[in-house]
Symmetry: C2
Subunit: 414 residues, 2 copies
């Protein structure tokens, strides 16, 4: 409410905001990604889309349940399902939430046509990026999950490796090719079950210019060796040698940080950054960033307002718990030293983090639009961002809107 | 480094810091707590202390292993063990760390005599409080664990209930009686396996002036019903009726927030506040603080620098995820509203939190000395506190040093 009339001599000059380089968006894979690439013998059990009728949709305040019906009735609605080995996973409104008001962003099963086309179509995506002041975007997978867990859990490892490679080929050649070249930035997945195969996949993709890979925040939560085990060394080494950034999206440790099965989903949504925080502590005390001083980590959708306290605590433990809590030779500097040198925070809405930007590190912060998920600020990202950075100087705004992301990913944009 | 000579006209006036009311310290129970109170038939299996010889002490960088030897040799050293049913738990240096330099705060098994006497003796404790500018102290149990998990896990529930009551009787009559009255503030435990028995224990203790109880940050991590289940209602009701503050110490959800078994302990120590954060999200979305508007929660040793971001995120979820993530009628106001009304943060070292005190809430912050644990700032608490609050006005310093704790616990100190 304005209590006084606006000053007519005041010029409403709009602040110039650099176009965004978003380090965390999502692609809903179009139906042909794997069918176009798998050998004939695998097409029938490899990933494919089936349109099925669902009925008896029920929402219990947390989850939708439904039945798949094929009795010829016209009850319920159609939805598109990803099918692979024994899996049947419906698309849901929540993973394609852009364009819908908050009340309609639900777990409802949907078809491709019920999503905004930019979710899965390159031309439409580029137009949606233009409409949202976004020059470039790094997109995470959907059906493979945030770091390729779907293929880790598959039965047939030969097929799974082909699926990983097919996804990466599609990512590089189609999603980030043609009109998308230079604006859609390739982000690949690895066969999580074998660090040597993973290293080979890093080298195969680095050779065609890829500089970003998905990884799990906390691999031990996927029943994989921890980052402390030494088992991942070939993969970390390959990333360091090729300047491939390790991108760890929230949720990539399989578990989301729920407190109990009967907790409202708002608890988990509030805590969505929690395993990013666990992962950061893990990495800072692992010695890996000491052994590989050029390796870079990005905590996708992890936000940042929690980081200054976490670093202060990590440094305090480093000083006060020297008698028992870690190997002093493996971590010769305080943990915050390695954060500032090698780690990037990624935020979408975080006023408290921006207020404390210099306690995080103005060179360590990147921005994301999270298109097309529930947390996305699309199509209002520019307005929301402009408001959030109102107290920051232009130099800092440039860094967080795009400069740091360009440096992190080695992009040829400025 | 001083580049100019000090101004001889400048008077070095020491700032007046109010004496502390510490809301989180620890008692190492003296050997007779249960033996003095249990009926004869239970003395032999009830909690008791045995002095045993330990040898082959080995430290693997994370943990000490040892053998208990009774072959008459004088190998190794003596240590005192708490024995109860099948348990044999050694005292360790880390739980009685005050007075030792950081390098010597280890997991070494020790005897009572190898601890500072204030760990278990009231007179010595009051002297150590005097030496540390501390007027009053709320002490958590050690052998029962932070909310009485030891008795929850026991085989004999009849004995376990007697143990809970015996601890509370000792806490009220001995630890907080005599010379300790008014300075050592009673904090009781409950039989965690039965919310009605728990409510009865709250009423029994409230009748003799007790205003604080230990509870689990996340009871479902103890395989107990979650706070959302409705099962705890008699206990919550009893606390609300009697103005009994629910104190949830870090680690009271049994699991500490480790990422993997092979992670250095520094990871877990860095993340020590993590389940306090999960618990806070749980409570803010539970509706319990709405149903019981006078109920008060304290996050003991949870620190606070992480709180502004967690509240901003919780409020953002409340606005943006209305379509699916919680019951809008159960949480009619944004989560931060209930935090400010009913929740207390408890800190020991937290420069970032203090810098952002007003984003937490100057009326929501209490202080602790964590005597005699590794995080304790004893005997330098006053100096460390004075330095931490150097930029705060006296009014805020009074509130966090003692005023808020006095209000929270209803103490008769000012």
């Amino acid at each position: 409410m304005t209590l006084t009339a606006p000053d007519p001599t005041e010029t409403a000059t709009e602040r110039v905001i650099p176009r965004f380089v978003s380090v965390d968006d999502h692609i809903i894979e179009p139906p042909q990604v794997w069918q176009d690439r798998l050998p004939a013998k695998y097409k029938a059990i490899g990933p494919r889309v089936e349109r099925l009728r669902v009925a008896n949709l029920q929402f219990n305040g947390m989850q939708y349940s439904f039945d798949i019906v094929d009795d010829g009735s016209d009850e319920g609605k159609f939805a598109d399902f990803w099918c692979y080995e024994d899996l049947k996973i419906p698309m849901r409104r929540i993973i394609a939430a852009v364009g819908f008001p908050p009340e309609e962003r639900t777990l409802l099963p949907v078809t491709y046509e019920e999503m905004r086309k930019g979710c899965w179509d390159q031309t439409a995506r580029l137009a949606d990026m233009d409409a949202n002041h976004t020059e470039a975007s790094l997109c995470f997978p959907t059906f493979p999950r945030f770091c390729g867990q779907t293929f880790l859990e598959a039965k047939d490892r030969e097929l799974a490796l082909l699926c990983v490679q097919a996804y990466n080929d599609w990512m590089v050649e189609e999603w980030c090719g043609g009109a998308g070249a230079g604006r859609l930035v390739p982000l690949v997945i690895i066969p999580l079950w074998d660090a040597r195969l993973a290293a080979a996949e890093i080298h195969r993709n680095a050779a065609r210019g890829v500089r970003a890979v998905c990884f799990s925040e906390i691999p031990s939560f996927l029943d994989l060796p921890s980052i402390h085990s030494g088992e991942w060394e070939p993969f970390f080494q390959a990333c360091a040698e090729t300047n491939t950034v390790i991108n760890m999206h929230i949720g990539s440790s399989a578990r989301m940080p729920a407190t109990s099965p009967d907790a409202p989903a708002g608890v988990q949504a509030t805590l969505s950054f929690n395993h990013a925080m666990g992962s950061l502590a893990d990495w800072l005390y692992s010695g890996i960033l000491v052994r590989h001083p050029t390796l870079k980590l990005a905590y996708s959708e992890g936000q940042m307002g929690w980081i200054p306290y976490a670093l202060e605590r990590a440094d305090s433990v480093w000083r006060e718990f020297r008698g028992w809590a870690f190997d002093k030779e493996a971590v010769p500097e305080p943990p915050s030293f390695y954060f500032r040198r090698q780690v990037y925070a990624c935020f979408f809405r975080d006023n408290f983090g921006l207020k404390n930007l210099h306690d995080i590190g103005v060179d360590n912060v990147t921005f994301e639009t999270d298109y097309p998920h529930s947390d996305s600020t699309w199509p209002d990202t520019k307005d929301i961002f402009t408001d959030m950075v109102r107290d920051l100087p232009d130099e800092d705004v440039y860094k967080i809107a795009r400069g740091n992301a360009i440096g992190m990913l080695g992009l040829d944009l400025d």
